[in-house]
Amino acid sequence: MNTIPILKLGEYLLVSIQVDMHDRLALQLQDELTSMLVKTKSRGVLLDISFLEMVDSFMGRMLSNIAAMTRLLGAETVVVGIQPAVAITIVELGLTLPNVRTALNVDAGMEILRRLVDFSDQKGGYECQQE
């Protein structure tokens, strides 16, 4: 049974989806990513889908789920590398991917993660002061 590798990159996790996933594999990735997030206390997830040749409603739901779950675990997800043809198709399909942050590539995604994590640290500090 093949799995999707999850790499630890400093305080972030990097997932690069390199294969056309069947549904079970996609669900397995959700599970493994959340347990890895808790285990490594990572603050962010970079989900690189530049090798993905299509995003259908099932995959869109999975991306939204991953973003929602990581947020509940105190982390942020940025999806990077959506191919232009895939982006066109996502729009025509009608997928809006609410709550999913995206960036052009891994570098830009990393930059967004850094800012998001800094911001949530500041916000946390501010709320503490108020009490």
């Binding site: 056309d20 996933m21 299509m54 409603s57 869109g60 043809a85 198709t89 399909l93």
Partner: protein, 135 residues
């Protein structure tokens, strides 16, 4: 118009959906469809195959390469299942309508992603959906 290539496959599990996506991709690449055309049709195929699996209890798909007399090439997919059928097709086609736990985008989205879209379904008799994308 003639059918220049044709093959059938069953849709019994989600691996079959992956195989169909790859089959559609390969055929369209070979015929010279643009990357955007390929991606749209592969996505529609994925949606309709999953519907046949989830709601139709599994089914079959016929994949056809079409040649028009004027030389135009098309790819046609005919999905068939013997599930419960669709009682209200307009409602099923409405974005956001789902009886499962989906987003309700599969049918309406597939219609937008293809050039021809035909649903033939009645309650109890199953569902046949035909989609075509022309080059």
């Amino acid at each position: 118009m003639s059918v220049s290539k044709s093959d059938a496959a069953t849709i019994q599990n989600t691996e079959d959906i992956v195989r169909l996506r790859q089959r559609v991709r390969d055929l369209m690449k070979n015929e010279g469809f643009s990357l955007v055309d390929q991606t749209k049709m592969v996505t529609a195929a994925s949606e309709l195959a999953r519907n046949a699996l989830v709601y139709g209890g599994g089914g079959a798909v016929l994949v056809e390469v079409l040649k028009e007399d004027n030389g135009r090439t098309g790819l046609r997919l005919i999905f068939e299942d013997h599930g419960p059928g669709i009682a209200d097709i307009d409602q099923a086609l409405t974005d956001g309508f789902t009886t499962g736990n989906g987003l309700g985008l599969g049918l309406g989205g597939s219609k937008r992603l293809t050039n021809e879209f035909l649903i033939d379904s009645s309650p109890g008799a199953g569902t046949r959906i035909t989609v075509t994308r022309w080059m």
